[in-house]
């Protein structure tokens, strides 16, 4: 199955808008993806025909809303390859998933002398929650390096593991470099030393088929907004035994079995971790987003993006003074670059003038920037709705940067 990109583009209303008088060229899907009308419509339809609070009313509307919400939980379980839909916890975003595990699992488990192993290429969302946990428990953070191409040093990862390592947390796909990590291998290595494993899948899920049962990880986090769904909803996958052993993360309504002033008992998983009214219509939107990418086919999406990555990389490499940051052989369609004649911030403004949206800055991965001794990069990320004309527009606009600055 190949992807008909011109047909796909028609599904995304925003792609027919103009920015600064030019057709929008959106190359920042790694920050947040645009939404197809299938997702927008599903959310509107839920509000128009099916909305009520969930898990509460005996009336039919609440039941319809609850079934739609819980139906998405089953859909996500299938999508991620989970064995049981009770292993799917809805969160606000991937960041909240990491924080939930760090606090709920980690605070009870860790003691001084214990170690947490992360990597040098993590997003701040997979660094800071572990640093906070170290401060709370006296555990120590260890960091696995990567090489100049942006490939994780698996030998170093292995040697940093010890009987003190309690959890290894690493990204599936680097948001700043595009590197795809060998997560199954890393998971096996960590678990062989008795550590549990959390994988940050925020960047991976929109670009490649994920099967958590095959990977074997204990936890996997993702977010809907990078998967063409709404912002405000994320997913934590956790092995049932892990989730059941963990105390609640937040207290409130929906997460209880019974409440008296003497004693409160908690609902079973996953509801134990979903205190308060969740983002109901947004979960419905996530379900529609999964339907959307599954209908296109994740393999077809990955193949399309890989073709774009190669096409854009080849053209960008030919520009004198341009350096690509992150050249791993196994890479998602993310191209971070610096120009020796212009600062990334100026590049971002000049591209914006041409209607081209790229991310500039440290990409919430300051240690990656430090590793390459740059303050910032410009980053073009390609998604299922990008076509070769977008890469051409980028290359032409960089020529305008050169004209102005060089």
């Amino acid at each position: 199955m190949t992807l008909d990109v011109e047909r796909v583009r028609k599904d995304f209303p925003i792609l027919s808008t103009e920015m600064r008088g030019k057709p929008l060229v959106f190359l920042d899907s790694a920050a947040s993806a645009q939404k197809p009308h299938q997702v927008i419509d599903a959310m509107s339809r839920h509000y128009e025909t099916s909305y009520a609070n969930i898990h509460r009313g005996v009336y039919q509307l609440s039941q319809v809303s609850t079934e739609a919400y819980e139906g998405v939980r089953e859909k996500v379980a299938r999508f991620l390859g989970a064995a049981d839909s009770r292993e799917i916890v809805f969160t606000r975003n991937a960041t909240e998933g990491v924080n939930l595990v760090a606090q709920s699992w980690g605070r009870n488990q860790l003691a001084p002398g214990d170690e947490i192993l992360i990597t040098e290429m993590e997003h701040h969302a997979n660094i800071v929650p572990w640093q906070m946990l170290c401060e709370q428990t006296g555990a120590t953070l260890r960091v696995c390096p990567f090489d100049d191409a942006g490939v994780l040093d698996v030998a170093a990862f292995e040697s940093l593991l010890s009987e003190r390592t309690r959890i290894a947390a690493f990204t599936h796909v680097s948001n700043a470099l595009g590197t795809i990590n060998p997560v199954k291998q890393l998971t096996a290595l960590a678990q062989a030393r008795g550590a549990i494993v959390l994988i940050d899948g925020a960047q991976a899920v929109p670009h490649l088929a994920v099967d958590v049962s095959d990977i074997g990880c204990d936890f996997y986090v993702m977010t809907a907004h990078k998967l063409f769904g709404p912002s405000g909803v994320g997913v934590l996958y956790g092995k049932l035994a892990q989730l059941e052993a963990m105390p609640p993360y937040q207290g409130g309504g929906d997460m209880i079995e019974s409440v008296t002033f003497e004693k409160t008992t908690y609902a079973p998983v996953p509801h134990k971790f979903e205190a308060g009214t969740p983002a109901i219509a947004d979960v419905i939107g996530l379900g529609a987003a999964i339907d959307y990418v599954e209908a296109l086919g994740l393999d077809a999406i990955a193949a399309h993006e890989h073709t774009l990555l190669e096409y854009a990389t080849k053209q960008l490499e030919a520009i004198p003074g341009l350096r690509i940051i992150g050249t791993a052989p196994d890479k998602a369609a993310v191209i971070s670059f610096v120009l020796d004649f212009a600062h990334p911030h100026d590049v971002g403004t000049i591209l914006d003038q041409q209607g081209i949206a790229v991310r500039t800055g440290h990409h919430c991965a300051q240690p990656v920037m430090d590793r390459y001794r740059v303050a910032a990069t410009a980053r073009a990320s390609f998604s299922l709705y990008n076509h070769e004309a977008d890469a051409d527009a980028l290359v032409t606009a960089i020529a305008a940067v050169r004209e102005l600055f060089a």
């Binding site: 212009a342 600062h343 911030h345 500039t360 440290h362 910032a376 305008a400």
Partner: protein, 151 residues
């Protein structure tokens, strides 16, 4: 390209390529660091005040985008020889110049070459680039021990 020339005026491009008063000032009486956490720009402003409280010498050091580098360079030229009160007024005027609504063009005759930054107000995301050096200068004048931030 015409729109871009409004922001990237030739004076700005020139000061970015060849910043004036660039580098350490060894006999500085005051200095402060500035940092824009959004884009990673970092600079240091060095000051030497004379007995009457005028800025006798000023230099800056650091890395940044064209807007922040040119702004720092032009600022050093502008404030050299001025009194602290004059600098305070210029700081306010410059701030108004780059943050005012685009629909109300600002008269900036008293700001000399700094008027080239009037185009920045069209780009709210770039205002902090233009003001970083001024915030840092202010911190140096106040001898604030903390690095100046645009946040």
């Amino acid at each position: 390209m015409d729109d871009l020339r409004e922001l990237y005026q030739s004076v700005i491009l020139d000061h970015n390529k060849a910043p004036r008063n660039f580098g350490r000032l060894d006999d500085a009486s005051r200095e402060a660091d500035g940092h824009n956490p959004i884009c990673g720009d970092k600079l240091t402003v060095y000051l030497k005040l004379d007995d009457s409280g005028r800025i006798e010498d000023v230099r800056f050091d650091g890395v940044g985008c064209a807007i922040s580098t040119a702004s720092a360079s032009l600022m050093t030229e502008f404030v050299k020889g001025k009194t602290l009160d004059e600098v305070g007024v210029a700081y306010e005027r410059f701030h108004d110049l780059v943050t005012g609504p685009p629909s109300e063009p600002q008269k900036a005759d008293d700001l000399g070459k700094l008027a080239v930054f009037a185009g920045v107000r069209e780009y709210p995301m770039r205002v902090k680039c233009a003001t970083l050096s001024w915030h840092t200068l202010n911190a140096a004048l106040e001898q604030s021990p903390e690095p100046a931030k645009t946040e």
